[in-house]
Subunit: 204 residues, 2 copies
């Protein structure tokens, strides 16, 4: 990726950690921050809108973009593939928008290689016990599924050291404030402010 | 400095930029953040309290600490010297407190060498014109003093690239929120959260 005025934020977390709640609130509350729109081969679910929730494509079209190196990162989850379009992301960043990518750890590792200055945030549950309690509390999963999710969570958590920020979601308000602070602080990092500083200096 | 649980924040800015207002509010509002207490050879001003505002010492005592390498950084301003005591700072950080140092650019450069992971924040005026207007508006300085302050400001501003965060103080509320965010975000940086993450991981 070329240098760009917008920031890339990546957020990953085991299922049941509260990631979607936090990410949705962040994008709804902060100016100039939008969700990345992935390209996927899975079918649209009821209510999902092309070009808003996803770009929906068939396998052949997805293959073509992969061959053209047109994805910053892409992953296969079960039978379906999900990718972040390079040209799409670049054009959004060039317009000065910050982009939030809600992606799995595998995709995040790939994205880090493509965009080294991406700001990577990992959300952790306060404890294994609490995550299990929340997963059961949702009532969406069978016993076997809960066990599989807990096992998968452990594998994801082992990758925490690849992230820049670790948010332990014990209390939603505190976690939200931490996430918001990461975005605000990133926007005043020296690298982002050099142009402004030089302009001010020229006035002296 | 040895590794420590507390964070070191450094704040520098040209005179008239609003640094003291921002720093005072930050320390008053945030838990677990205190001002560094400098050691100085200048005389106490009315109302200043030993061990709260400064540690007041004579020249011989200051020399002794310098010889023993007891200052993390020290500078001479006109006839007077100011230093940050190594043992004092280490003991405060060891107790888990974050410390805010309000120091000049020269001291800040020295501190960076001693504590590479210090978080360094530089506050800039929105423009030279606005800084001049604010300096005159204070009515504290003669014309010659304003000119000298503007000249000194330019020299300080040239060091902006040595800082991690650049806050342009155009609007006080926005600048305050940026500063607060830098502190909050620093507290969830991976390096600070490794212990917690490992503890959570052990539960899985």
């Amino acid at each position: 990726m070329q240098s760009h005025p917008g920031n890339v934020f990546v957020i990953s977390a085991p299922s049941g950690t509260g990631k979607s709640t936090l990410a949705n609130r962040l994008v709804a509350s902060l100016d100039n921050l939008i969700f990345s729109i992935s390209t996927t081969t899975r079918a649209p679910r009821t209510g999902e809108v092309e070009g808003k929730d996803y770009f929906f494509v068939d396998d052949a079209a997805f293959d073509e973009v992969v061959r053209a190196n047109g994805f910053i990162e892409w992953v296969q989850v079960y039978e379906k593939r999900y990718g972040t379009g390079r040209a799409w992301l670049q054009s959004v960043l060039d317009s000065g928008q910050d982009v939030l990518l809600d992606i799995e750890t595998t995709g995040a590792m790939n994205l880090r290689r493509a965009i080294p200055d991406a700001v990577m945030i990992f959300i952790l549950p306060p404890s294994a016990k609490e995550l299990e309690r929340r997963l059961r509390g949702r009532g969406k999963d069978s016993e076997a599924q809960v066990k599989a999710r807990m096992n998968h969570a452990r594998h994801e958590l082992e990758l925490y050291h690849a992230y820049d920020f670790l948010v332990v979601n014990e209390d939603l308000e505190t976690s939200y404030r931490q996430m918001e602070s990461i975005v605000w602080a990133t926007r005043v990092r020296r690298e982002r402010m050099v142009g402004r500083a030089q302009e001010i200096l020229r006035g002296f």
